[in-house]
């Protein structure tokens, strides 16, 4: 059996906002020995509905099964599998650098302009840069700052929205609302 090609996938999970949801999702990755590269948990556009965004390296057949197994969880509303082409995505990185080192070289303006970065805070001891972008962009700024004795670096998980004109979660919730009316309001049992 040949092994299908591995690539970076983004999984988004819409769910009820309940304790232990992240555990329910993450154990499905653990079971198949899949490493979650990054994870973001946030509110979604629908009130009370939570959204997880996870990325992982895997092959497509595996990920299709993973997503169906995530969706099977009772508290999960819908789960989706994307490659980078399907989504608009972004992440944010912060960099803490000793101010003295920056002032020695006088390159601060070049760095900020070249990378489209921002300075969030500057004190006599340290300077904090912020850069939002794709991983290769935040990585590039990290490389540029390495020679300045960088002290701290952190990158957020991915946030992503789809390019699709159809909002499948809304569709599902509409269908469910119709079911609810049929069942609860007695139109059908």
């Amino acid at each position: 059996m040949t092994h299908p090609e591995r690539q970076l996938f983004t999984v988004t999970v819409y769910s009820e906002n309940c304790v232990g949801l992240l555990n329910q999702v993450s154990v499905i990755f653990t079971r198949r020995c899949l490493n979650i590269e990054d994870v973001t948990a946030s509110a979604s556009s629908v009130s009370d509905i939570h959204k997880l965004t996870l990325t992982t390296w895997a092959d497509r057949p595996t990920m299709e099964k993973v997503v169906r197994q995530i969706e099977k969880r009772v508290d999960v509303i819908r789960a989706f599998l994307y490659t980078d082409d399907d989504i608009v995505y972004q992440e944010i990185a912060l960099y803490k650098v000793p101010t003295a080192r920056l002032l020695e070289t006088g390159d601060v303006e070049d760095i900020v302009r070249h990378h489209g970065a921002r300075i969030l805070e500057m004190t006599p001891e340290y300077t904090v840069f912020e850069k939002t972008g794709h991983p290769w962009e935040t990585e590039a700024l990290l490389d540029s700052l390495r020679s300045y004795d960088i002290r701290q670096f952190v990158r957020s998980g991915r946030v992503a929205v789809t390019k699709s004109p159809v909002e499948y979660v809304d569709l599902f919730l509409e269908q469910q609302e119709q079911r609810r009316r049929r069942i609860i309001d007695g139109l059908e049992c």
Binding site: E16, G20, Q24, V27, R68, Q69, K72, V74, L173
Partner: protein, 573 residues
């Protein structure tokens, strides 16, 4: 009109609201408030006190599988909860509806390594359909309602409610609303009429169609539409292990069990069929063998209530996400009457070889070797007019029961399929008998598995549960021995067992029984065993060298079938 009651009282009332009349359990510190309430409800809610929590959950599984109702378990926190893990995992694999209530330490102690605290929700999430902690008394009724709805709807499964002490002792205003809808969950997907039409077209064009029937048929009460479909279009049927008894063994289109130790006809013809209709089954590796060489000629129609089963191990050409009964009833009018006489005859031709080789040897039609499991099981089946419930443990006793017991009605074969849990049999048989007191319940068990939950003889004693226990005793872990024999150069590492006097053990529990050492004793022993409705133990001396055949070794194609240690079946026969 509402009134203030404790969470423990609300829990018991909620169980009654859900129609529960029997629970299996074991008390302990963190569930004492509930047990105190049970004391007042003993006329409405029968509590079966087991001897170990594992026994409680397997008994509840047996109860649920025979009755079709949700099994209920009540245990305490920490070790009590930890002891039901095997059963939860087993019920998850085998789609068994359970509600398991675990006590939990008080909210202020959560996370502090308090006495008998364990992270029940964290531990059980991967092996349950839903696992939820209740910390406030007012949440008890809604949590119970949700638990029962989730356990029994869609693809059934086990649910855990972890109820903190405060939620048991605190007060609430009693009100009960059953749950019939959850926003994030659709257990009854709308039937895809297009997929049904495509499936019907495939079936109508098929020359060599075959039905693979799994437990989903039984869970959906779909035996009748399944049989009608099979008869209308003359489609032979193979059953998975848990699909057994979905249609009667004697039905002319029932061609046997699928998989590793299944019957030759269905396994060989899986790889010759041009259309396979898989109903409520999940293409387990024990059914498929090597998936790369599985059903290469077949278009596969996969009917399942759980969409995560589609394309999991075997790709489907048409996937029908539906309840099996609903899908089969929709298919029936679209499927044309047909005849596939030579195709059907080919199953019988292969099975005839199995009769003359494997079964002839196992049933001792020619030889007079020591007793074998198949022979005993076949004769118990006859002695009970093929009407009993067969409960098995795991191993050779299980495969032989699946092969040699015969079934007349659904929900008659109870076995740990997916997880393969040794120790399942004895407590599951207790639950089965309690669920169906009017039926004869036969347990087929090995000496290894029997001793894994042998303490439940105490439960049988206390409640006089009339389980007929047939101990197929070869003083070996027989199935492991078989694999050591075939694949590990007869190095019988840690498989011989020095066993106690089982009849004396049973006698200590007040349970009658007898040793059977020769086949001439069998009929009289069966007569004594079946003479009344009391528990009985037959300790039958079995030839340890006997092996389960036919066998498709792991990794081989489904039509690579060993008839004995040295002979591979030629499917072109």
């Amino acid at each position: 009109m509402s009134q203030s009651i404790s969470g423990a009282e609300a829990l018991v009332r909620s169980l009654l609201e859900e129609g529960v009349d029997t629970v299996f359990g074991y008390p302990g510190g963190a569930i004492l408030a509930v047990y105190d309430r049970l004391y007042d409800y003993s006329d409405k809610l029968r509590h079966i006190l087991v001897r170990h929590e594992q026994g409680a959950i397997h008994a509840a599984q047996g109860y649920a599988r025979v009755s079709g109702r949700t099994g209920v378990v009540i245990v305490t926190s920490g070790p009590g909860a930890a002891n039901v893990i095997t059963g939860l995992s087993d019920a998850m694999m085998d789609s068994t509806p359970l509600v398991v209530i675990t006590g939990q330490v008080g909210e202020q102690y959560l996370g502090s390594d308090a006495f008998q605290e364990t992270d029940v929700v964290g531990i059980t999430q991967p092996i349950t359909k839903w696992s939820h902690q209740v910390r406030r008394p007012e949440d008890v009724p809604a949590a119970v309602a949700r638990a029962f709805y989730i356990a029994a709807s869609g693809r059934p499964g086990p649910v855990v409610l972890d109820i903190a002490k405060d939620a048991q002792t605190g007060l609430l205003d009693w009100n009960y609303e059953p749950v019939r809808f959850i926003r994030s969950y659709n257990p009854a997907p709308a039937l895809d009429r297009l997929a049904i039409a495509r499936a019907a077209d495939l079936i109508n064009a098929a020359e060599r169609p075959m039905i693979l029937a799994g437990q989903g048929v039984t869970l959906a009460d779909a035996s009748d539409p399944l049989i009608r479909l099979a008869e209308k279009a003359q489609i032979p049927v193979g059953c998975t292990l848990l699909g057994l008894s979905a249609l009667p063994s004697a039905h002319p289109l029932m061609k046997g069990m699928l998989g590793m130790h299944g019957n030759i006809g269905v396994n060989v013809n899986t790889n010759r069929a041009d259309v396979i209709i898989a109903v409520g089954m999940r293409f387990d590796d024990r059914v498929t063998g090597n998936t790369d060489a599985y059903a290469p000629q077949a278009k596969i129609i996969h009917i399942d209530i759980d969409p995560s089963e589609f394309n999991k191990t075997v790709p489907a050409d048409v996937a029908v996400n539906a309840d099996a009964a609903e899908a089969l009833k929709a298919l029936l009018p679209l499927v044309s009457e047909a005849a596939h006489d030579s195709w059907i005859a080919s199953f019988d031709r292969h099975n005839a070889v199995e009769e003359q080789t494997v079964k002839d040897a196992e049933l001792h039609r020619q030889s007079q070797r020591r007793m074998t499991m198949g022979e005993v099981i076949d004769r118990v089946s006859s002695a009970t007019a093929d009407k009993a419930v067969a409960v098995t443990d795991v191993g050779q006793n299980q495969m032989m029961s699946a092969r040699y017991f015969r079934f007349s009605e659904p929900r008659s074969f109870i076995s740990s399929g997916g997880l393969g849990t040794m120790g399942f049999g004895l407590p599951a048989a207790i639950g089965a008998k309690i669920a169906a007191p009017q039926r004869t319940v036969c347990l087929f068990c090995g000496d290894g598995g029997f001793q894994m939950t042998i303490q439940e003889l105490g439960t049988i004693m206390q409640y006089n549960v009339g389980v007929k226990m047939i101990l197929l005793n070869n003083n070996f872990l027989g199935n492991v021995r078989q694999w050591q024999n075939l694949f590990f150069r007869q190095r019988f590492s840690q498989t011989p067992m020095l066993n106690p006097d089982f009849i004396a053990v049973a006698a200590a529990y007040g349970i009658a029984g007898e040793n059977v050492t020769s086949r001439e004793q069998l009929d009289d022993a069966f007569a004594r065993m079946l003479a009344d409705d009391k528990p009985y133990l037959l300790n039958v001396d079995i030839d340890e060298t006997d092996m389960v055949f036919p066998m498709t070794p792991v990794g081989k194609a489904v039509d690579f079938i060993m008839l004995d240690k040295d002979t591979v079946y030629d499917p072109n026969n």
